[in-house]
Amino acid sequence: MAAFILSRILQAIPVMLVVAFISFAMFTYVGDPVAIMLGQDFTEAQRAALVSSLGLDQPFFVQFARFIGQAVQGEFGLSYRLSRPVAELIAERAPATLELAFCAAGIALVVGVAMGVYTGLYRNSWLSRALLTFSLVGVSLPPFLIGILLILIFSVWLGWLPSFGRGEVVQLGWWSTGFLTWSGLKALVLPSITLGLFQLTLIMRLVRAEMLEVLRTDYIKFARARGLSNRAVHFGHALKNTLVPVITIAGLQLGGIIAFAIVTETVFQWPGMGLLFIQSVSVADIPVMAAYLLLIALVFVSINLAVDLLYYAVDPRLRVGRGRGH
């Protein structure tokens, strides 16, 4: 097991390097940060001084190597726009994004699995049909539109929930949380639903399809023939067998939720990493963008590792080499 984890971590290193290279290379073309930072009036001497202080006069690969060398130490340089350390900026924004992603993923998983099981078991009931129709909406409408619709209904018309921001937050060390205040919790509702709805409907349809598949198998028929209760058959035997594909998709989706929080954060002016990224793009703040992309890549890699480990927990057939054979 330790060897497996180690090998996966070693595999992750080239992935991270490639992501770093691509993002770094791409950002050389997104705009000239020097022109943006200097503004209208500047002398050639000022320009040259800024270029050399940012290290932009050095060859591309030297810049890249320095970037990697520092990134490994958790050092991403100064933001061009805010003149503050990037690591500090991201650490400041990360709690907002992570709490939002956590809530969205939680809603998507719990509601998605429950609805998937229900529609799989009672596939002809009117509620199942209604849920399936509703899920089409979730799959086909883009999140920004859903966000705007939700704001229109719950903030503008009904006035129940705030339309932007995080509400009041409480500082726990360096972590700022919105979970501990009423306004913080209220502020989480609409963005979480917006962000999680697509994944929710995806998970629901996946669980439903898997349930229908599994319920047809011989071992379910045999479980019924042994007189096990419906509960044991549906949840103990059927649902557990649907989990491997569900874990795969849900894991990938969790990465997606964190990465694509950008759109939701923009719609709700959510002070997270996505909003930071968008603001950085408009002024070509390369250090922030590169650090953000690296972080997202790291999140994906870690989630994939966690997913692989979960497979082992769920499916005994994957646990090879336990020394107990035929």
Binding site: F222, P316, R317, R324
Partner: protein, 333 residues
């Protein structure tokens, strides 16, 4: 003595878009305690359907449209799902064809045995586990005390079928429906599994309905045989009589198609034609288009089971009132 299972005039129908199909029509038989009834016939004759109807697990849209099924004299065909669930496993065990797919891959065989026993028997988890090991020993799993914690994929096909048998019997049902229990196994394993089933049935005094298309298995195991054709019973009687002296032209054809071992034959005997589809079962006797002895009455009237001496056969040749009587070849004087 009261039969443990009695099936009376069972009719199973499927509602389809093109009308109702009758998959079983007027099937009647009974099984006494300790008796093994073999059910044979071609694929689609309704053998497995009969088993599924008895354990109350017909796949929709299939449903029991008529007749009765009695277990120990109590009707079970009209029970609600929850009532029938308590009977399944506890009073009627079921063994299915493919041991590779009938065990849940995510649970150890011990867990599955314990779960089944805890569902039906008034015992605790520790006792159930002890019995699980016991059952694995009884069905011939070596080193049962260790293997109880193995997962299904860690067993071979034959061993898995032994586990399936243990699972079907662990709540000690008095009646077992075994649907092609050896078909998916290697020939060398088949004999072992059949011997195991037979000895367990004798030891526990269980009645068994053994569905198969393997005449060898039937001859080896069954006390009586029912031959099914197109959803009906063509002939039923003691195994020796049906195998060696079949009265129904269809059973005779079936037995004649078993290749003899003691002499060389150029061609295997076969019955001309194919079994009719459910949507096109002919009038009268369902076998009449393929029957070498067919006469007018067979095309007009449907025969009930008639006494033929050793067996009962659904064939007009055995009605004294028919214009044609059984030929010498079918009388086996």
């Amino acid at each position: 003595m009261q039969p443990i299972l009695e099936v009376r005039d069972l009719r199973v129908e499927f509602a389809t878009r093109r009308g109702t199909l009758r998959a079983l029509d007027g099937v009647s038989f009974s099984i006494m305690p300790g008796e093994v009834l073999g059910v044979v016939g071609e694929s689609g004759a309704g053998k497995s359907m009969t088993g599924a109807a008895i354990i109350g697990l017909l796949e929709p849209p299939g449903r029991i449209a008529g007749g009765q099924i009695l277990l120990n004299g109590r009707r079970i065909d009209n029970l609600r799902y929850e009532e029938m669930r308590r009977i399944r496993g506890k009073e009627i065990g079921a063994i299915f064809q493919d041991p590779l797919t009938t065990l849940n891959p995510l649970y150890t065989v011990g867990d599955q045995l314990v779960e089944t026993m805890l569902t039906h028997l008034p015992i605790g988890a520790a006792e159930a586990r002890k019995r699980a090991v016991n059952w694995l020993e009884m069905v011939g799993i070596p080193a049962a005390a260790q293997r109880v914690d193995s997962y299904p994929h860690e067993f071979s096909g034959g061993m898995r079928q032994r586990v399936v048998i243990a699972l079907a019997l662990c709540a000690e049902p008095r009646m077992v429906v075994a649907d092609e229990p050896t078909t998916a196994l290697d020939v060398s394993i088949q004999a072992q599994v059949i011997a195991l089933l037979k000895s367990l049935a004798r030891e526990k005094g269980m009645a068994m309905m053994l569905v198969t298309h393997d005449m060898g298995v039937i001859a080896e195991t069954a006390d009586r045989v029912a031959v099914m054709y197109a959803g009906r019973i063509a002939e039923i009687g003691p195994v020796r009589a049906v195998v060696q002296a079949p009265r129904h032209p269809y059973s005779a054809g079936l037995m004649a198609s078993i290749p003899p071992l003691d002499r060389k034959v150029e061609h295997l005997a076969q019955i001309e034609g194919a079994m009719p589809r459910l949507s096109a079962i002919p009038e009268g006797c369902a076998f009449n288009p393929r029957c070498p002895h067919v006469f007018d009455r067979c095309r007009a009237e449907r025969p009930e089971l008639l006494e033929t001496g050793a067996t009962r056969a659904a064939c007009w040749l055995y009605d004294p009132a028919s214009e044609k009587q059984a030929p010498e070849a079918l009388r086996h004087a």
